[in-house]
Subunit: 349 residues, 2 copies
């Protein structure tokens, strides 16, 4: 076993504190990654606080992991020692169902997707995530990280990046399309970058006029202030697709009215309480309210390669375990532009 | 002007009573139809009772109209005197927007769709529907009715038929697909017939074991009783598409769990109160909650031709204006198999 030093929460009310645990010895197909950087995702906090009712403790959060390959199993073909590698939200799945075979392991038909932390692996042991020195993962779930990008700023691509890239690709954001993004945070700022890079006309919805300049810098062609009167009537029926990145419950009815015939509003923000949707708001115009969950491993690699080609990374603030409590508080307040990344070197030194 | 005798409601609390009104003289492109049959749609009652808040009185309901062409304007090319003709839910639209040009006049981008009754036409006058002797409609909104089918039983195809045919076609019901139908009434019984005719495996959801035999006769391969424990867990993740034909508010969460990855639940039932939808129920599996509104004129003609070829009509009970109050009461109770059709001859004699 590999002794690993990291940070864990011990209960729904505690903050991450030093914790020593073990990772398995690499099997034939495993890659041992010495973690360099880990993004701080709002879902780390939701799960640590047991907001979704699925918390297992001790919990080592973190699923936006960038590191250096330290050891590889005998049958590993994709990685060698010294490679830059990434691990996102998943570390395993059934691998044989239709969804897994089609590269959509996040939707494993058998429900056997193993999340990177706070989940039971096939060995029956709970997984521990990126708030630690080491992680051991089957190479099938390890990503190759482009060398031309800042690795710390690549970390958030593994959750915030793929979560927005996948639905924008699925619903065909591109030239000639009008794409809306609700919310400008960790997810929203990546959605702007991708939608813009895909060549779509990209519109940010926000309540805050303070965000206009930043939204435009990040790729928005237009910013609609949702506190203005008539903001929705003046754009009715003009959007092909709207990506809703807001994690709090909110009224989506006015956004449905903005969609063209056949348009889709897709949520990736996971509000904890149900949304109220009038049947009339989707019946008129054959509209859809949809959801999307991260993306498969194949698509995550495609996204990283796209980012390499288009020089896209997340806008980040570096932080350290000494400041993790403050970082979590600022994430909860939405006070970060646009993702905290933990520097694991602070743990190793 | 063409003097017309019919039945109208005079207020949200009255029942249809004899009413004399006028229809315009046929213009160059108009068809005057002597109405033979008119289906009784639940939405006739909703609008008459002002349930949707859009009632204008006096209101002559009826948008499932079959009749005989009596006069045609000089420029009419599709119809001649004596032809069997149909009029559904719409009688006009802007005709120049993208939706209208693509044959989806029900989604007119300018919002200028003119409904067959209880709507203001381009001449500024309110439209009167099929509960009367005559109707005058531009030939662009008149359907050719196949001669090989019982014309009374064709009438409900013009609303209940196209409302279910259109989404089943749009979401590609056919061989190899698993299609669910919620609710067995006017809409649901047509959905069963179409889904079966398209070659899909077709499953009826119902609370009532008394409906099993009828559902199977109408085209269901399987009937799932939703009052049984675990009815939804045993079929989780198996449906490509579910058509929700229920007009009362109900919990759609268990049905969303029945969808495969990428599946869609589409409502055509128009519950008056919003539906509560958890983001988690669509995010996991990239699922969609959608709506669909009748169908365009071109698709309605395609549907009628399909029915002619496959010998499909609505299951009907004939009624007359003398019994309209009773018929409406039975529609509200869901006590009709599966559509009342008014015999207009009772009016003319």
């Amino acid at each position: 076993m590999i002794k690993t030093h990291g940070f864990a929460v011990q209960s729904a009310t505690s903050v991450p504190a030093p914790f020593d645990y073990e990772q398995r010895e690499p099997g034939p197909k495993d890659v041992q990654i010495s973690i360099d950087f880990c993004g701080v995702c709002h879902s780390d906090i939701h799960q640590a606080h047991n907001d979704w009712g699925n918390g297992n403790y001790p919990m080592v959060p973190g699923h936006e992991i960038i590191g250096t390959v330290k050891r590889v199993g005998a049958e590993v073909t994709k990685f060698k020692v010294g490679d830059l590698a990434g691990v996102g939200c998943m570390v395993d799945s059934c691998r044989v169902c239709a969804s897994c075979k089609e590269g959509e392991e996040q939707y494993c038909d058998k429900g056997e997707t193993v999340m990177t932390y706070n989940a039971k692996g096939k060995d029956g042991k709970y997984t521990f995530g990126g708030y630690g020195e080491n992680i051991v993962v089957d190479e099938a779930f390890v990503l190759t990280v482009p060398r031309n990008l800042n690795p710390a700023a690549v970390a958030p691509l593994l959750c915030a990046g793929i979560t927005t890239y996948s639905p924008l690709k699925h619903w065909k954001a591109g030239p000639g399309k009008m794409i809306g993004v609700i919310g400008l945070g960790g997810l929203g700022h990546m959605a702007l970058k991708f939608s813009h890079a895909f060549g779509a006309k990209t519109v940010q919805f926000t309540r805050s006029s303070a965000k206009i300049a930043d939204a435009k810098r990040l790729g928005a062609d237009e910013v609609i202030l949702t506190k203005e009167p008539n903001w929705h009537t003046s754009h009715a029926g003009t959007f092909d697709f709207i990506l809703d990145c807001v994690s709090a419950a909110h009224d989506i009815t006015p956004y449905l009215a903005l969609l063209k015939r056949g348009g889709t509003l897709c949520t990736v923000g996971l509000p904890a309480t149900p949304l109220a949707i009038s049947a009339f708001s989707v019946v008129q115009g054959r509209k859809s309210f949809a959801g999307s969950n991260i993306g498969g491993i194949k698509e995550t690699q495609e996204m990283l390669d796209f980012c390499s080609e288009h020089n896209i990374v997340s806008d980040i603030e570096m932080t350290s375990f000494g400041k993790i409590e403050e970082a979590w508080e600022r994430v909860i307040k939405g006070d970060v532009k646009y993702r905290f990344v933990l520097d694991l070197k602070t743990l190793k030194s």
